[in-house]
Amino acid sequence: MELRKTSIHQAVEAVQQGEITAFELIEKTLKNCSVLDEGLNIFNSIAGIDALEQAKAIDQKNEKGGNLPLAGIPVAVKDDLCYGVLPTSLGSAAFNEFMSPVTAAAVERLMDAGAVVIGKTNLDDMGQGSTTLSSPGGPTVNPWQAERTAGSAGAAAVATGICMFALESDSGGAQRQGASHCGVVGLRPTTGRVSRYGLNTHCSSFARVGITAFSCENIAGVLDILSGFDERDAATAVCREGITEISKIPNSDKLTIGYPVNAFDFLEPELREVFEKARDEFAERGYKIAEIDLGLLREGLQAYYVIALIEASSNHARFDGIRFGKTGESEILEEMYQHSRAEILGKEARRRSIFGTYLLSKGNYDQYYRQALKVWKMVRQEFKKAFDQCDLLMLPAAKKLPRLLNEEYSFLDEYFEDLFCAPVSLSGMPALTVPAGQVNQLPVGMQLVGPPFSEKTLLALGSWDTGTGPLSQE
C-alpha cells in the first residue's frame, strides 16, 4: 500500500478487514521514515518501539471488533505539541530531552481514535517563524528541491509520503506556507474548533492546531475527530460538536469566490500568473468571481507582529530555568535567569522577547498595543464585510517561493512573508491551503478563506480542485 495514493478511509478499511495489520503499516512507515529523514531533517524524534507497541495494541482492539476511525494511521506531530511518550523540544536545544507531563488534547484525541504518532517534526526557534531556518537543529529541506527550505516539517512529512497526515500548529502562517511550499493541503481551522491544550505557543491569540494531509478528504476525516469542546481550552466553548463528512461539491452557480485584486499586487509576476489562472479556471467552471477590496493586509501584518511579539515576551517568561529546560549556573538570581534564558531561547526567540517587552513597556502600550488591537478589530470587520459579497476568498499563502537554505535575509524580510497569512489569523476565520500550480518546478499554494465554521465548504471546493483539476498539476 502506498500511503500517498491511499486515502485514510481506505487505509483504515484495509486495517479493519485484516488486509494489512496496523503493526505492518507502522513498521513500513518507520522504515520509510528513517530513510527519508536522513537528507531532509524532518523529525526531531522518531517513535520506534513505542509506535510499534501502540500498533500492536490497535491490532488487538481491532480483532475484538473495535471500530477505531483512524486505526493504525501514522501521524507526524509538530514538536510544539506536547506528547508524553517522546521528548517535546518546543524548538529549543535545552528541551531536546524534555519529557512533558502533558499530552496535547489534539494528540490524545488522535490516539484514542487509533492513530499512531511516528515522530515529532522540526520547527523554528521556539516555534517562531515560517521557514524552520531558525530551528536549533537546522532547517527542514524541501522534498521538491533540496537547496530550499520546506517551510514546515509536517508538510514535508506528508509530501514525502512518510505519513498520511501531520498535526501542525499555525499562528502567522507556518503551516499554510509549509503546505504551499510542499504542495500539500493544510487546514487552519476556525478559532475554537480544535482544543489547543498542550500546544506550547508563543502567541496564544492566534495559534491554532491544524491538519496537513495529501487530500481534503483526509483532512475532513481527521477534523471530525479533533473538533469539539474541551474544558481545558476555554475558546472551544463555541464548538460543542464536531462536523460530519464533507458534503458534495457545492453547486458552482451558488458559490461566489472573492478575488481581492490588491492582494495580488504584492506578488512577483510569475506567481501572480498562477493565481490569475486559478481565478479564470474557477470562472470557467461556473463560479461567480467577485472582485473585493482587502485594504488592510499590510496593517494587519504589522498588528499581528505587535501582538505576537508582546505575547511571546509573556508566554516565554515561564522559561526561567527553575522547573524545566536548563538551569543556568550562578549564585545570583538575575544572572541565573540570564544564563538559563540564553540556553533555552535561541536568537530569534530572544529577539522577539526583547521586542515584545519593549512594545508593552510603559509609554508604548497606547502607541503600539492599543493600536494593534484596533487594527485587529478592523481586520476582523473587513473580512466579515468581504463575506457579504462572496462565500469564499482566494489569497496567496506565501509571498515568495520557498527560501534557499543559504540565502541571506533579514528577520524583517521573513516577517513580511506572512503578509497573506497573518491577517487571516487576525480574522479568526478558517483557511485551507491547496496546491494552485507551479513555478520553476516548485509548488505554489492558494489559501481559501471562509467565514467561521465554513470548513465543510472549503474542503469540498479544495478536494474538487486538488484531485483532478488543473490547479494541481504536479
Binding site: 505539541l81 498542550g198 481550552d233 476555554a234 466553548a237 522547573r323 524545566f324 538551569t327 545570583i332
Partner: protein, 525 residues
C-alpha cells in the same frame, strides 16, 4: 523534569523580603510599644492622617483558581501542584466557577457594582515563586468596584469607607530560606503549593483617618468575608494579608501628601502599631521641615519598628495586558441578582435576630456576632442548652477571654459547644458553683479534657450533702462567736462573712444556697 512532588527546586538565595510571612511572629506576648508623649501627640495632631488599605483574601474553594489542585494547606512542599499551576509548556488556565462565585459574593457583600463584563490580565515580572513569569490578575476591569462598608469613626459615629475595587487573582508560591531544622542554607527553595490559590484583592479608598479606623475597617472586612463564607480570613495563617498606604497632610489641604507603603503586618494589632509608628515618623519629619519620600517599608514585629525595603522613584512596570488564554468573564444581570438574593445572613442582620429571637440585649448580640465563628459557636451551644442569656454571658465572658489569650478563633478552640453546654448544665443542676465553673473552663480549655472529667479528677463537685455541710457550719459558728453576735444584733452582712468561711473550708465546693439556709437555721433556730 527536575521537579517532583514533595521536593523543592532550588534557586540562588533570594535576598528580598519574603513577601508573605507565616506563623513566626504571631503574638509573642506583650512587647514594649514606643510611647507617644503629649508633645509628640501635639505634633501628630497638627496633621490629617490619610490611610488606604490593600487587603488580599484567600478564597475558600475546593480547587485552585485555574486548575483542579486542592486549595488547602499541606506542609509537604509541592504536593498540591500539577502541570497547570507549575506553568508547564502547553498548559492553559481554566477558570474555576466556584472561585468566581466566591469573588462575586465578596463584591456584593461589600456593596460593589459588579462588572457584567470583565477579564483577566497578566501582570508580568520575574520572581522564582511565580511559575509562569506573570501573575494572572484583573487589572483593567475589576469584578467589583465602587463599594463601601461602614465602621465607627474615632468619635463613635458611623462612617462609610469606600471600597474602590475587588478583583480576582492567583496567589504565588513560597520561598523557603532554611531547612526544616531551621538551618540557613545558601540557596532558596521554592514551594509551589500555594501557587494558583484564588485570592481577591480589596482596595479601600483613602478614607481612613487613623490607625484605629484602619483596625476597625479590617475587623469589619474580616467579619463580612467570614459571614459571606468567602474566606476564613486568618491573618496569622496568611489567608488575610494587608498592606497599608499612609500619608499626612494639613487639614486644610486638598492634595494628598507623599505616601509610604507598609508591608508585612501579621496581625490586626501589628497593623495598628505599624501605622502609629509610621504616622509618628512622618509627622516628625514634616515638623522638622523635611520631606517624606515614597518608600516601601516593612514592619518588624520583633523590633516593633519599620525597616526600609526600597525607595522607588517610579512605579513598577508590570506590562499588564489581557490574558489571551482565558475568555472574558460575562455575567448576566440576573445571575448577579440571584447571587445577591442568596447572600448569607450578615453580622448586623444576625444581631437583630439574636435580639428578637433570643431576647438578648443589643450589646450581647453585637459582641457575639462580631465574628461569624463566635456567633456560630453561640448558636451551637444554644442547641444543647437553651438559656440564651446564660450562654451569652459565658461565651462573651470567660470563653472569649480564653480565646483572646490563646490567639484563637472560636472554631479552633478544643473547648467545643458540647463542652460549654455540659459545663452550663452542671451549674444549672447545682453540681458546681459559678466560681468553680470558671476554674473548670480554664482547665478544660487548656487541657482539652471534658469539663465533667476535670470536675471529677479535681474533686470539684459541689457539696450538697446536708450532713457533711452541717458539721462544717457548726464548726464555723463555734469558731466565730463575735460575728454570730453581730448577725443576731441585726447586721445582716455578718452572715455573708460566715458563708465565706464555710466556702473557704470547702475550697469553694459547698452549695452556697444550702450553706445560707443552714446558717440561718442554726443561728436563728
Amino acid at each position: 523534569m527536575n521537579l517532583g512532588q514533595g521536593t523543592c527546586p532550588r534557586v540562588p538565595r533570594v535576598l528580598a523580603m519574603k513577601r508573605v510571612v507565616g506563623h513566626e511572629s504571631w503574638d509573642k506576648g506583650p512587647v514594649p510599644v514606643s510611647q507617644v508623649s503629649k508633645d509628640e501627640r501635639k505634633v501628630i495632631m497638627k496633621y490629617e492622617v490619610v490611610i488606604g488599605l490593600e487587603v488580599h483574601v484567600e478564597l475558600l474553594t475546593k480547587c485552585k483558581l485555574f486548575c483542579s489542585c486542592p486549595n488547602r494547606f499541606v506542609s509537604e512542599p509541592n504536593l498540591n501542584t500539577c502541570p497547570v499551576c507549575l506553568g508547564f509548556p502547553g498548559t492553559m488556565p481554566q477558570l474555576s466557577r466556584e472561585a468566581l462565585n466566591q469573588a462575586l459574593k465578596a463584591s456584593l457583600a461589600l456593596n460593589c457594582e459588579v462588572a457584567l463584563y470583565s477579564y483577566f490580565d497578566r501582570k508580568n515580572y520575574f520572581y522564582p515563586d511565580m511559575p509562569k513569569g506573570y501573575q494572572i490578575s484583573q487589572y483593567y476591569i475589576p469584578l467589583g468596584s465602587r463599594g463601601h462598608l461602614e465602621i465607627d469613626d474615632d468619635q463613635g459615629k458611623l462612617k462609610k469607607i469606600g471600597v474602590g475595587r475587588v478583583h480576582m487573582e492567583e496567589d504565588a508560591g513560597k520561598l523557603i530560606h532554611e531547612t526544616t531544622g531551621g538551618i540557613a542554607i545558601d540557596s532558596s527553595m521554592v514551594d509551589y503549593n500555594r501557587a494558583g490559590v484564588p485570592l481577591i484583592e480589596i482596595v479601600s479608598e483613602p478614607d481612613l483617618r487613623s490607625s484605629g479606623e484602619a483596625k476597625r475597617y479590617l475587623e469589619k472586612l474580616k467579619s463580612m468575608m467570614q459571614y459571606a463564607g468567602v474566606s476564613d480570613c486568618k491573618m496569622e495563617e496568611g489567608s488575610l494579608r494587608c498592606d497599608a498606604n499612609v500619608s499626612l497632610r494639613m487639614p486644610e489641604d486638598e492634595a494628598y501628601g507623599v505616601k509610604t507603603e507598609l508591608k508585612n503586618m501579621n496581625s490586626f494589632r501589628a497593623v495598628e502599631r505599624s501605622l502609629d509608628h509610621e504616622i509618628k515618623r512622618q509627622a516628625e519629619l514634616l515638623d522638622q521641615g523635611e520631606k517624606v519620600i515614597t518608600q516601601t517599608l516593612r514592619w518588624d514585629e520583633d523590633k516593633q519598628q519599620t525597616i526600609v525595603m526600597r525607595s522607588k522613584l517610579e512605579a513598577d512596570d508590570y506590562r499588564c495586558f489581557a490574558d489571551p488564554e482565558l475568555v472574558p468573564i460575562e455575567l448576566t444581570a440576573q445571575e448577579v441578582e440571584n447571587a445577591r438574593q442568596n447572600l448569607p445572613e450578615m453580622a448586623d442582620e444576625r444581631a437583630r435576630r439574636f435580639v428578637k429571637d433570643y431576647g438578648l440585649p443589643g450589646y450581647d448580640a453585637g459582641v457575639l456576632t462580631s465574628s461569624r465563628c463566635l456567633a456560630d459557636y453561640f448558636e451551637s451551644c444554644l442547641q444543647l442548652f437553651n438559656k440564651p442569656k446564660e450562654v451569652s454571658n459565658w461565651v462573651m465572658g470567660e470563653f472569649s477571654a480564653r480565646l483572646n489569650n490563646a490567639g484563637l478563633e472560636a472554631d479552633q478552640a478544643s473547648f467545643t459547644p458540647e463542652d460549654m453546654a455540659e459545663l452550663l448544665k452542671m451549674i444549672d443542676k447545682q453540681e458546681i458553683s459559678g466560681k468553680i465553673a470558671k476554674e473548670v473552663l480554664e482547665k478544660a480549655f487548656q487541657s482539652g479534657k471534658k469539663p465533667r472529667r476535670v470536675v471529677e479528677e479535681e474533686g470539684l463537685l459541689q457539696i450538697s450533702d446536708q450532713s457533711e455541710l452541717e458539721a462544717i457550719v457548726d464548726r464555723v459558728i463555734s469558731e466565730n462567736p463575735d460575728t454570730v453576735e453581730n448577725y443576731r444584733g441585726g447586721k445582716s452582712k455578718a452572715l455573708g462573712h460566715l458563708v465565706g468561711q464555710v466556702m473557704k473550708e470547702t475550697r469553694g465546693k459547698a452549695n452556697p444556697q444550702l450553706v445560707n439556709e443552714l446558717l440561718v437555721k442554726k443561728i436563728d433556730g
